[in-house]
Symmetry: C2
Subunit: 213 residues, 2 copies
Amino acid sequence: MSYVGVGVSPGNVPVKHNNNSNIERRVRVAEVVLRCVICGLAILSAALIGTDTQVKEIFTIQKKAKFTDMKALVFLVIANGLAAAYSLVQVLRCVLISMMIRGNNNNNNNNNNALLFNKPLAWAIFSGDQIMAYLTLAAVGAAAQSAVLAKFGETELQWMKICNMYGKFCNQVGEGIASGVLVSLSMMVLSPISAFTLFRLYGHNNNNNKGRW
Amino acid sequence: MSYVGVGVSPGNVPVKHNNNSNIERRVRVAEVVLRCVICGLAILSAALIGTDTQVKEIFTIQKKAKFTDMKALVFLVIANGLAAAYSLVQVLRCVLISMMIRGNNNNNNNNNNALLFNKPLAWAIFSGDQIMAYLTLAAVGAAAQSAVLAKFGETELQWMKICNMYGKFCNQVGEGIASGVLVSLSMMVLSPISAFTLFRLYGHNNNNNKGRW
């Protein structure tokens, strides 16, 4: 029985060099890559929006646009900050467990099993991933709605568009929201991976299975 | 081997009256109940928002507020309509498969297994549930953001609050959004159920499992 290094999650089944080993390896690699991508993009999104300002002079009066003028952008910056911190912790967890397994390998398989088949830990990771996926999506949804209003206005409600006045500000916010959308999409792809990791612990192989996947 | 009637999903494992039978029965019942709740609440939410209008007379000019004035509310009505239709189809699927299994029961267990362990169908249900969960959440997030703007305005952007003018309209929209939030929360609870149903098909029982759950 062998274990592949970085990216082994608690709850993952051990690599048995059987028919499932390829899919298991791919799942582990995908998990670590996605968590790194999420961490980077979330930091980028929060930085783009959080540092965005533009000053306009209107009849000798200076007006400054900043992200705190729109509560939805504040929510998005907070959500992306949480997503980045969470993903960093998860990547460290993957590396740490991988190191512990390497240390235990060939010495004590019971310790490895305790790490790899730990249902409470797998539940915690699954719950965390779900919460972060929903949090980032809700934040992106709210921010995108605000951005649409800023770009096009809502004439029926007399909410005027502001992007013709603060073009540079709006463009940078747009880039931040685009990064936020990618964070959210990556979280959506990651979420089934941790579900797979958790719920297969409750399963059993069925030889009568008619599905091909 | 016996099968409990309504609520049996393709991908669920059969009830074997073993240690897992209780959790399996609960999962099936929870699935059907949640799908019915989602269907009812989504219809309620779409109806509350879609039928909401208020006419105000301002200096002999009549102004009418309707949900199409806010694009986020149109998105929410469409998302709730899709969620209601999808949930109805899923409830019918549960009932239909339950009837087919009852018809096959004690006659041909291979047919039952083909229904219960159908991975492609379990993948389709899981994907559908995920998409609906994310769709309803994004719609609720955008609509909630618009509602906050309508209620409190955004003075920095000179977007004035409109709920002091259209109080009855805003209250009904608020009720519709509250129902939409419940739809979204129910979808979030349902999503791990279909993940459980799917991914346990890929699992195997591990006797060395140290987790207690």
